[in-house]
Symmetry: C2
Subunit: 400 residues, 2 copies
């Protein structure tokens, strides 16, 4: 114990600053997409199928990008809407629109006495922030190994005020788990009391596997919904944020005919159209999507493996953690001392995601979950950070 | 008369299709910005002031673009927010946010029994569409030669339910007029009953002059508001839509410290940030902004002059029209037969903006205003279209 404290004290004097708070790609990953800047040049003809991509028009996106996302999500081109640089903005817009104008003709949610939302926990803080912004009451749903607790989901949707659920179905943020086929099938069969209930299926890590040979397989929710004549229940989202450049990519929404029509009614008021030049740039550049994802994995994999190696050497008995095969996060569960560990790390210069951030309203009542985001730092930095994290967990676990 | 009808009939047999419904730039104008595709290449360092522009971050935009729009709008860099490819989306978002979450802490407009809005007419149909989408009651304000009827504006803002006004203060859409200094000063001094009243100052044509030597001068509304300690009353919008590529540009909002803080509270929930790569591309490309705008004018000017030449030869006594020194539109006022003229043109293959479109709810009660958008067509096409328009005006005026 005294020894651990001494080791920790030594780090305090080292003037460390390592920020691991967000799941941002590191510069080497961004370098993989440098040549996206070269695919369009002056003099290239940007008039395609008689439409000048430099001008206004094509509200729902260019066919080449619908094709791209149709392949990524395995849903028909006709069910794709291409958005701007942020899938988060598409989700925000969908909820904002539901608040003011309803869903496919339903009563606007603002006119109701309350709106409730199901939030699998731990989950993505930016999802929760949207609900909080609109005053939507969030209900925690525990995450199991195979996805959200579906018994609870099926129970809560009997409440007419429950209008949606957040899902990151593959390599979930932060637990890294992928929903089982059974979970996906149960989602596809949901018959909520509220006709304007929607599953917000944020498939952010659809193709973000760490291992070529050990990919998680996510059942196709859209096909499953179709089988149940239930395709209006689902909104699917994804983006290239972790494929090309995080701030300068393109996003997409997958939606049934009814939902697409309903969304475009809103979109056509909001904008004349999204950036078709950047869409076209992506369609051209991502012809070899597989290879790019493989190279991302080559950069990310050693980081995830380092976390696993150090945690399994240091933390058995002190904590449990996830061993994801893809995505951007590892979920570390300590024994009622998450806040203290994050604080202690911060003192030593290691910035983690705020404790509680993975829960609605920032309240992790068991004070146990810490999100580890290893992507943005170098292996060398990561090793130092992990040493400090392990020391902090041990010190705080002993004390508590 | 028989002669006019005969001439019109001849056009009917010519299988003409000329679409002048929207104010879109023609391909030659887009060619002026072709080399924006070349300013960024792979290997250029995109890490600027220690921020990697390829990655997440900088919610309110890159300094280089704040500088660009600070020059265009003549307001401090610190009062600029850079948006995505659409200033319309910034306006939509501002109203949407006001509906659900209020303005600087005010009651959300959705909680009020009604919301009213002042709409100078004729005006921009997409502005009116936003109000209509949110169920905001629109009140027509006549446009005079020097801007909206300010006596009426000053009267209506005594009503607490009146929350805003649309303004296109320079080369107004569609009248082409520029607000006088006196009008701007009266706007800057407004003290509405509603503390959450905002002027939506859509300065879309801020630098879109047709003549180097005859530029309209628009008084700086932000400085005037400052003088009156009234800078929270104004939201300023503009974009590069008619500078570079209409669908692939960048937008900006000018806002007081209070308004900026309030808007960013919303934006940070909606998105992690806008496209910084495209921002940087614009900042680099638009270093010679003056020259580009001069070349746009060289393409647009002959079209506006052709309209003036043909109208003044053909339509004196039948109609009146504006003679703008910039912008994208000419406003044609006929004698109670706008709908009939637009229909007659359509039959002959000339598509004009729908009659009524320049009024809230599409209702031009005097059936007199037609928006002429000469930008997208060639001079040759324009001449044919103008002949057909003139014939149609004469035929419909005689008949009515």
């Amino acid at each position: 114990m005294i020894d651990l404290e001494k080791q920790y004290q030594e780090y305090l004097n080292k003037n460390i600053y390592i920020n691991m708070s967000r799941g941002v790609p590191d510069a080497r990953q961004l370098d993989l997409s440098e040549s996206i800047l070269d695919v369009l040049r002056s003099g290239n003809c940007l008039k395609i199928n008689n439409i000048d991509y430099r001008n206004y028009g094509l509200l729902d996106g260019i066919p080449e990008c619908k094709d791209l996302f149709s392949n990524i999500l395995d849903i028909p081109q006709n069910n794709i809407i291409i958005g701007g640089n942020s899938s988060l903005a598409l989700m925000y817009n969908a909820i904002s629109k539901s608040m003011t104008n309803g869903v496919c003709g339903s009563t606007p949610w603002n006119k109701l006495s309350k709106v409730k939302w199901l939030c699998p926990v731990p989950g993505y803080d930016r999802h929760f922030a949207i609900c909080e912004y609109f005053g939507i009451e969030m209900i925690n749903i525990p995450m199991n190994e195979d996805g959200p607790d579906m018994d609870l989901v099926e129970k809560y949707i009997k409440d007419d005020y429950v209008k949606g659920i957040w899902c990151v179905p593959k390599y979930s943020n932060p637990t890294g788990i992928t929903y089982s086929d059974e979970t996906v099938r149960r989602f596809a069969k949901l018959r909520p009391a509220a006709k304007d209930f929607r599953i917000y299926w944020d498939n952010a890590y659809a193709i973000h596997d760490l291992y070529e040979e050990k990919k998680e397989h996510l059942l196709n929710i859209y096909s499953e919904c179709k089988k149940n004549n239930n395709e209006d229940i689902i909104y699917i989202f994804t983006s290239t944020s972790k494929i090309t450049f995080p701030g300068a990519g393109i996003s997409a929404m997958g939606a049934s005919e009814n939902n697409k029509k309903d969304m475009l009614e809103q979109m056509k008021v909001q904008t004349i159209g999204y950036d078709k030049i950047n869409q076209y740039r992506h369609a051209l550049f991502l012809k070899d999507l597989k290879n790019i994802m493989k190279r991302h994995a080559d950069i990310l994999r050693p980081k995830f493996e380092l976390v696993e190696r150090i945690f399994s050497k240091e933390l058995i008995g002190f904590a449990t953690w996830s061993k994801p095969l893809g995505g951007y996060f590892i979920s570390l569960n300590v024994k009622g001392c998450a806040k203290e560990v994050v604080e202690r790390c911060k003192k030593a210069g290691v910035i983690l995601t705020n404790s509680g951030a993975t829960y609605p309203y920032g309240i992790d009542s068991s004070n146990s979950n810490i999100r580890i985001a290893p992507s943005s730092v170098s292996l060398k930095e990561l090793e130092i950070a992990l040493r400090i994290i392990c020391l902090s967990v041990k010190l705080e676990t002993k004390q508590s």
